[in-house]
């Protein structure tokens, strides 16, 4: 053999050089009687001739056209007629063009210079297109279209803007500082809008920000959105081989991270930087860096400058260079005065936008614009350096929310302590006054009644003071306090010791620490004071203890809260008696504590008793009932009794509505819980409707930045994400994230949680790199802020693992998830929802890595834990059961999987509802497993039930074909016929015309049609399938199968003469390929040969000839000679 291979190769090359007709003769001469060699060479030559162009074509785009081909006015590009060139830039030429259809209008058409990889640019543009279409903002010029010209150059079509660059406009119009800032703010708003729609501009510069006049009012328009993105991959690639400067027309506006040329890690903050450069130019008339000087040294020097050098402050630049550039040399503008106006706030604002480290820039264009607005309103700006004096001024002038987390925490803590002691002094003073009054009363009976009245009033005042303090404390942001404490600790040591200290602090949970400090220093002291000072006033003591207990509960100090509330209850019973409304109110507080401790059964029992007790109270208020219904509803919801939970929450909502009117905050909060509950029951459409309604009202009533508003927005975002309305979900969740960032800073748990939610949406949109980046940021931040051992940190690591897994990187995800599960197991135990959720992802990763046994064991453990934790009917338990059964199926153990699916399904129907996606997936899983165990009838029944919802659930896309196959297998002709048109339409909608995938789907439909003998319909489809397969799978066995099937469809119609060539060629073709066919497909050969036998048998019966009888015999012999196959 070994000496024949080179010979074959030589002959191959020799023959390849010859014209086809001479090859045979040449081969005969050279191969002699070596038939095997000849056959081998002939096969190779045949393959060489048959090899279609795309086969093994390098995976790269075609080379760009070699010569520059200029367009001329009057030329047509697709449906656009070029009118006149209106601009020439580094990237290409801009034309004014006329669009003819669907509407006649003038547009701007930008044709990119040669040297860009057209296909890639167009593909990237297409990818961006959906996002671009979502942008609708008066200050954004819409990008309408994109494509490639006949000469292979990418082009983009935009709304035509007749304007001048913003810098030119400002200079020509000689407008002042305030107007410049106002104009610039509009640009920020436009960019912010784009960011909300998921579009980063990447190339903000004056020539892309044009100003037009509308009725004399200047309106900025940002152009070229999406174009930098489409062409940026090219930028990275070309840097390898071509000159940099040629591509980078405007490095002045490039963010340092863009200057690193990695071209990858660009986010919205790169736009913030470019906006900063733009503002610098608007304020000083110069750019932050002198590119020409740097370029004289070299391109690397330029990049280094952008990455490393600090630009001059705007005020310094103006005082050294003058304002000539800024205001077009207006003689009335004083250089010194202009510089003075920039000094301080505007310097800080611009320099913050120009930070090298993007995490120190404004997070969003909005943040940037808001700071400018603060400057314009003479308020303190966020960009100001943290000097004590400035901070203090700010604290005096601004609400405390604006103060950095550390300051807030410390001040609030102080306010709490001082407030408490002040309150106590007041209370004691009141008590003394009462005693004095009593003493007086003994002396003077006339004043006694007045004194008694004053004493009562004092008691009420004391209570009001206590409640006011409780309110203050309830507003405490404990996580922020924790972060502040940690930062204060780090700031207290020398800079050199900070890193080692941070390392040793990594394991400390500062939120818990802050809570402990609060508990020990504020609450326990308050409780002791209450007990000693009001020892002889059990009623007052009970009220105050209840208030303190509720405050502690609200902050998460559940165990000490329980102690306080239990004591309050004891005192209340003593003071008021068991059935007194005041005692019942303390009972309600205790139920709240129990709910937070996860004792749902106790809450359920207790609140039912409480409702009965309240009914005995003659003047019980509607809001008292409502509060208990809320407690009961939430407890029921937590234990998975969803329908009953809805009843009680609805009741609570109606009661609150009676009390507070429609805009009462308690009613709004219950409606929020109802939204969450509705979604948990799988009623997404209803949940979405309720959420939208509620959100609109919350925005109106409480304002867009209110906690409650943000929570509901976050829930709406999640609903939209779960129902695949990702494009709408994303901006909502970005807003939520921005709001939390602005309020709590980057490190706050709520910000991090919002970040994770957003990352999940991005993950589902397939934007895994951004999702992964966000998750990694969140994780790193949590390690820094909360320490590595904190449950939140483990959870965050788990989410990161889930994203990696979703990205198909099971290898990378598995160790991450395993680490997260181990950490959560230590911190929270295995029988905990969070641990089990991450463990579920780990089981999925093991499944993907084909470590089926491990996956099965873990799935089983999760399932058992969920049963212990939530009981058999809880949605989480059911979900775990489904995963466990799927793992069984993965190991081919359908018979064992069936009973598990069977037990899950009715429970899911009951709890989640019959049309919830999870219920439907279980139902289909059961059907598929049943078919494998032979229970075809039941399988069909299940799939038919689920059929109306196949399109709603992405993981069920294969089910329609599965159902069709089952129906055909049972011979249910009517059902198959009814289903076929839908499936054909589905296939045509989902698959590209002429694709192998379309052929595959249509072939599946035609197989079913043949099985039920609907010959004509099968024929039509197979006539479409066969040419596709002949073209795309030339030489393979699949076209032969389709050929034989087409013949069979004709035979069924007794069109013998037409059927014969197809059936014979198909059978022959398959017989020739028998050896090379996969074993599982060999039954097709037998089938095809049997059809030929049928053909001649039927034909000779209908129109007998000796020939046909003989052929029937011949083919029958061939059939019998075939090896039997397994099927």
């Amino acid at each position: 053999m070994s000496d024949r291979r080179p010979a074959a190769e030589e002959l191959f090359h020799a023959c390849r050089a010859l014209p086809a007709e001479e090859r045979s003769r040449h081969l005969s001469r050279l191969c002699g009687d070596d038939a095997a060699l000849r056959e081998r060479v002939e096969r190779l030559l045949a393959a060489d001739a048959a090899v279609a162009e795309p086969f093994l074509q390098p995976r790269r785009a075609g080379p760009a056209a070699k010569a520059e081909i200029g367009e001329q006015p009057g030329d047509t590009v697709d449906r656009y007629k070029l009118l006149q060139a209106i601009g020439e830039g580094g990237m290409g030429t801009v034309w004014m063009a006329e669009q003819r259809e669907p509407v006649v209008r003038k547009v701007a058409l930008k044709i990119v210079k040669l040297g860009m990889d057209t296909r890639e640019v167009v593909v990237r543009f297409e990818a961006e297109r959906q996002a671009l279409a979502l942008m609708d903002h008066p200050n954004i010029a819409k990008v309408l279209d994109g494509g490639a010209t006949a000469t292979g150059r990418p082009y983009f079509v935009m709304e035509l803007v007749k304007g001048v660059p913003i810098t030119d406009y400002c200079d020509q119009a000689k407008i002042g500082l305030r107007q410049r800032l106002e104009l610039f703010t509009k640009v920020c708003e436009a960019i912010q809008h784009a960011h909300h729609k998921g579009v980063i501009h990447r190339d903000i510069k004056p020539s892309n920000v044009l100003v037009t006049l509308h009725d004399g009012v200047p309106v900025p328009k940002v152009i070229d959105f999406g174009i930098a993105k489409a062409t940026s991959a090219e930028l990275t690639k070309k840097t390898l081989f071509t000159q940099y400067a040629q591509i980078l027309g405007t490095p002045e506006y490039m963010a340092p991270e863009q200057a690193e040329m990695s071209g990858l890690d660009i986010d919205t903050r790169a736009d913030v930087y470019s906006l900063g450069v733009l503002l610098y130019e608007l304020l000083t008339g110069t750019k932050p860096f002198d590119v020409k000087t740097a370029l004289r040294v070299g391109f690397q020097e330029l990049l280094r400058t952008i990455r490393e050098d600090e630009p001059q402050k705007p005020s310094t630049r103006v005082s050294t260079r003058g304002t000539a550039a800024v205001v077009g040399g207006r003689p009335d503008v004083n250089v010194r005065a202009w510089s003075e106006r920039l000094r301080g706030d505007l310097d800080w604002i611009v320099m913050k936008a120009l930070e090298k480290d993007r995490s120190r820039r404004y997070d969003t264009p909005n943040g940037f614009a808001e700071d400018i607005a603060r400057f314009l309103r003479d308020e303190a700006v966020l960009a100001a350096p943290p000097s004590a004096g400035y901070r203090l001024r700010k604290f005096v002038h601004r609400r405390r929310r604006l103060v950095a987390a550390a300051t807030t925490a410390v001040l609030l803590l102080l306010a709490g302590v001082v407030g408490t002691s002040w309150g106590m002094v007041q209370a004691l003073r009141e008590r003394d006054r009462t005693e004095v009054a009593r003493a007086e009363a003994q002396q003077n009976l006339q004043t006694a009644q007045a004194a008694e009245a004053r004493a009562l009033q004092s008691a009420a005042e004391t209570q009001a003071v206590a409640e006011f303090q409780a309110q203050l404390l309830a507003d405490l942001d404990v996580p922020a306090m924790g972060i502040g404490l940690r930062q204060a600790l780090l700031d207290a040591v020398a800079p050199g010791q900070r890193d080692p200290l941070a390392t040793s602090l990594a394991a400390v949970n500062f939120t818990d620490l802050a809570l402990e400090a609060l508990d020990a220093n504020v609450f326990q002291r308050s409780i002791r004071t209450i007990e000693t000072s009001f020892a002889d006033q059990p009623a007052m003591q009970a009220r105050l203890l209840q208030v303190v207990g509720e405050t502690m509960r609200g902050l998460g100090l559940v165990a000490p809260a329980r102690v306080a509330v239990l004591r309050a209850l004891e005192l209340a019973k003593l003071a008021f008696g068991d059935g007194d409304p005041r005692t019942l109110a303390v009972t309600a507080s205790l139920l709240g504590v129990q709910r937070d401790a996860g004792e749902f059964d106790a809450v359920e029992r207790g609140s039912r008793q409480l409702l009965t007790a309240l009914e005995q109270v003659p003047d019980a208020r509607a809001s008292d009932f409502a509060q208990v219904h809320v407690l009961l509803g939430k407890a029921l919801s937590s234990s998975g009794k969803l329908d009953e939970a809805v009843t009680h929450l609805t009741k609570a909502r109606d009661l609150f509505a009676q009390v507070d009117g429609n805009d009462g905050s308690e009613e709004l909060s219950v409606r929020h819980s109802l939204v969450v509950l509705t979604v948990r029951r799988g009623q997404y459409a209803e949940g979405e409707r309720l959420a939208r309604e509620l959100l609109a009202q919350l925005r109106r009533v409480l304002g867009p930045q209110h906690d409650q508003t943000l929570s509901t927005a976050s829930v709406l975002g999640t609903i939209l994400s779960d129902t695949s309305q990702l494009a709408e979900a994303e901006p909502i969740l970005r807003d939520v994230l921005d709001a939390f960032r602005a309020r709590f800073g980057d490190a706050h748990p709520r910000t991090l949680h919002a970040k994770q939610t957003l990352a999940t949406i991005l993950e589902r949109q397939g934007r895994l790199d951004e999702a992964e980046r966000l998750m990694k940021e969140a994780y790193a931040e949590q390690v820094r802020v909360l320490g590595e051992g904190h449950p939140e940190t483990h959870l965050s690591l788990g989410s990161l693992g889930a994203v990696l897994l979703a990205g198909g990187d099971a290898h990378g995800a598995e160790p991450v998830l395993a680490k997260a599960v181990a950490g959560l197991r230590t911190a929270l135990g295995f029988d905990h929802d969070e641990t089990l959720t991450v463990a579920g992802h780990l089981a999925g990763a093991l499944h993907r890595l084909e470590r089926f046994e491990e996956s099965l064991q873990l799935s089983q453990a999760i399932f058992e834990a969920m049963q212990r934790l939530h009981g058999p009917k809880h949605p989480h338990t059911l979900n775990a059961a489904n995963n466990y059964a799927s793992a069984l199926w993965g190991l081919g153990r359908a018979a064992e999987a069936v009973p598990v699916f069977r037990s899950v399904l009715p429970a899911q129907r009951e709890v989640l509802g019959p049309t919830h996606p999870e219920t439907l997936v279980t139902q289909c899983n059961l059907a598929v497993n049943l078919r494998q165990t032979g229970a075809l009838g039941e399988a069909i029944e299940l799939l038919q039930q689920a059929e109306p919802h196949f399109d709603d659930v992405p993981s069920l896309t294969d089910m329609p074909f599965e159902l069709l196959g089952m129906l055909a297998e049972r011979g249910d002709a009517a059902a198959v016929v009814a289903l076929v048109p839908k499936l054909v339409a589905r296939a045509r909608a989902a698959q590209a015309a002429g694709s192998v995938e379309l052929a595959r789907d249509l072939a599946r439909v035609s197989s079913a049609l043949l099985q039920i003998e609907r010959w004509a319909e099968a024929e039509t489809l197979l006539r479409e399938v066969l040419p596709i397969r002949e073209a795309k799978l030339a030489g393979a066995w699949q076209p032969e199968v389709s050929r034989s099937q087409l013949g069979f469809a004709l035979l069924g119609q007794r069109r013998f003469a037409e059927a014969e060539p197809l059936l014979v060629a198909g059978a022959d073709g398959l017989l020739q390929r028998l050896e090379s066919m996969p074993a599982g497909a060999r039954f097709r050969v037998r089938e095809a040969v049997a059809r030929v036998v049928d053909l001649y048998a039927q034909w000779s019966a209908a129109e007998p000839t000796a020939d046909r009888a003989q052929l029937a015999t011949k083919w029958r012999e061939r059939l019998e000679a075939l090896p039997s196959d397994d099927r």
């Binding site: 074509q57 799927s886 497909a1081």
Partner: protein, 190 residues
């Protein structure tokens, strides 16, 4: 000690034994990360832009575009092996997923298939390439370089140290050989 990309290229250039083995995992990791991103972002059926990925990987690894170029052939060889492995792994993962049950909560997003080959065919190509390598390793490496990293024939010739004419002949033969092998062999299942 883990050496940097630049150090490794220099070591290879000096002819140090074993340096090539150290290069491969470095290139593989980089490319795998890039490919995962690329495969996940693009819509199904979209061609993986191998050339872009390979160039990007190079940029990321060498950090400094003005750096050394001596070892580019070695880099390309490592990149070709890596790309092949990545695509085959993606195809396997996909195949494994097809066998899987209806896993919930964990979204088992598949990676997109490259345009010319579906995942099963890619696995067949991988197997066939293995057979070709047993018979003629140089041709198999040529296919790797050309198909999986998108190098031009001239660049392949340089990387393999053969003349362009030889590369041309090898390419024609390897293509016919593989096409024939795949046509006879395991085409995608019905």
């Amino acid at each position: 000690m883990v050496r940097s990309f630049d150090e490794l290229l220099q070591a290879i250039h000096r002819g140090e034994a074993g340096a090539t083995d150290e290069l491969l995992p470095l290139v593989y990791e980089q490319l795998r990360a890039l490919a995962a991103r690329e495969l996940a972002c693009e819509r199904p059926g979209h061609t993986l832009q191998a050339t872009a990925l390979v160039h990007e990987a190079f940029l990321r690894l060498c950090g400094n575009p003005g750096g050394r170029w001596d070892g580019i052939g070695h880099f390309h060889a490592a990149a070709a092996v890596s790309m092949r492995r990545i695509l085959v792994e993606a195809a396997r993962a996909r195949a494994a997923e097809k066998r899987g049950g209806g896993w919930q909560r964990v979204t088992l997003n598949g990676v997109a298939a490259p345009a010319e080959f579906d995942q099963d065919q890619l696995l067949d190509l991988d197997a066939a390439l293995g057979e070709l390598a047993a018979e003629d390793p140089r041709k198999a490496r040529l296919v790797e370089l050309r198909y999986f990293t998108g190098l031009e024939l001239a660049e392949c010739a340089a990387a393999l140290g053969v003349s362009p004419a030889t590369a041309d002949r090898d390419w024609a033969y390897a293509r016919a050989w593989l096409f024939d092998r795949l046509r006879r062999g395991h085409c995608p299942g019905e």
